[in-house]
């Protein structure tokens, strides 16, 4: 039992200087609830009144703090009638719509082709004539060959120009 009494002595001095048994959070509510059973055995009889008062004041404090943090809507004076609700809703919607209109992306996209009726006839168009395909093919081959010639000549010209004092 000696250990219990020594504990009680500690508790008595807890209010004063902090030591290894003082809790970091100075909340009396958590202080009493987290106290190990061994303590209750000794202190239960010794400080019944004192502890209960602490607990009560802590609860009161929490209640008070909560009350100040809550905004009581029902207690406000601005009581809205049904038609006022509707009016405001309409007003807000209008403002949102007006603002949104400024930011709408223009839907018109460029299009290469003209919008035409008579789909079937147009889709039945004849393919590219062989004559044209041949023309393109030979022209492409010639152009590629011609381009290869350009590269060689170009390099020589650059060297010549740099050589001129």
């Amino acid at each position: 039992m000696g250990c219990c009494f020594s504990n009680d002595d500690d508790k008595g001095s807890q209010v004063g200087d902090p030591h290894e048994r003082t809790t970091l959070l100075g909340n009396p509510v958590s202080n009493s609830s987290t106290r190990p059973g061994c303590d209750d055995y000794g202190s239960g009889m010794k400080y019944p009144h004192n502890q209960r008062a602490d607990e009560q004041s802590a609860l009161n404090r929490i209640l008070h703090e909560t009350a100040t943090n809550v905004i009581d809507v029902s207690a406000m004076n601005s009581h809205l009638e049904q038609h006022e609700y509707l009016d405001r809703a309409r007003q807000y919607n209008q403002r949102v719509a007006a603002t949104a209109q400024k930011y709408t992306y223009p839907q018109k996209r460029p299009s290469l082709l003209l919008d035409l009726p008579a789909t079937e006839k147009n889709l039945s168009a004849s393919p590219i004539p062989q004559k044209d395909l041949k023309l393109l093919k030979s022209a492409c081959e010639n152009a590629v060959n011609a381009l290869q010639e350009i590269k060689v000549q170009h390099q020589e010209e650059l060297v010549v120009q740099f050589g001129i004092p």
Binding site: R109, L112, L113, L114, T119, N122, L123, P127, I128
Partner: protein, 97 residues
């Protein structure tokens, strides 16, 4: 207008694409071909008509053909929708180099 492409000779598939690039209707070997739809959509929408027109007149284009060795795609716009038809194509004369 519901167009099924059946009237077009030698056709093997078709696509109808709306303004947003979504496939409205499709069939044949272009059935649900989202890839072809997006490529064709890009070809038509990235370019302003006038950029490519010949210098002396600014006539709009009415049809685009994409032709491979043995088949071709024909693309046109009607009623704000892009119509694509894929057709078999047999050269009238033998292809030579």
């Amino acid at each position: 207008m519901t167009f099924t492409g059946t009237e077009v000779p030698e056709q093997t598939g078709y696509l109808i694409i709306n303004e947003d690039g979504g496939v409205v209707s499709s069939g044949g070997d272009l059935e649900n071909d989202e890839h072809a739809a997006s490529v064709i959509m890009n070809m038509l929408n990235l370019i302003e008509k006038s950029t490519m027109s010949p210098t002396e007149n600014k006539e709009p284009f009415k049809r685009l053909s994409i032709q491979y060795d043995d088949h071709l795609y024909i693309v046109m716009v009607s009623n704000k929708k892009i119509h694509v038809v894929k057709r078999n194509y047999v050269p009238a004369e033998p292809v030579e180099a």
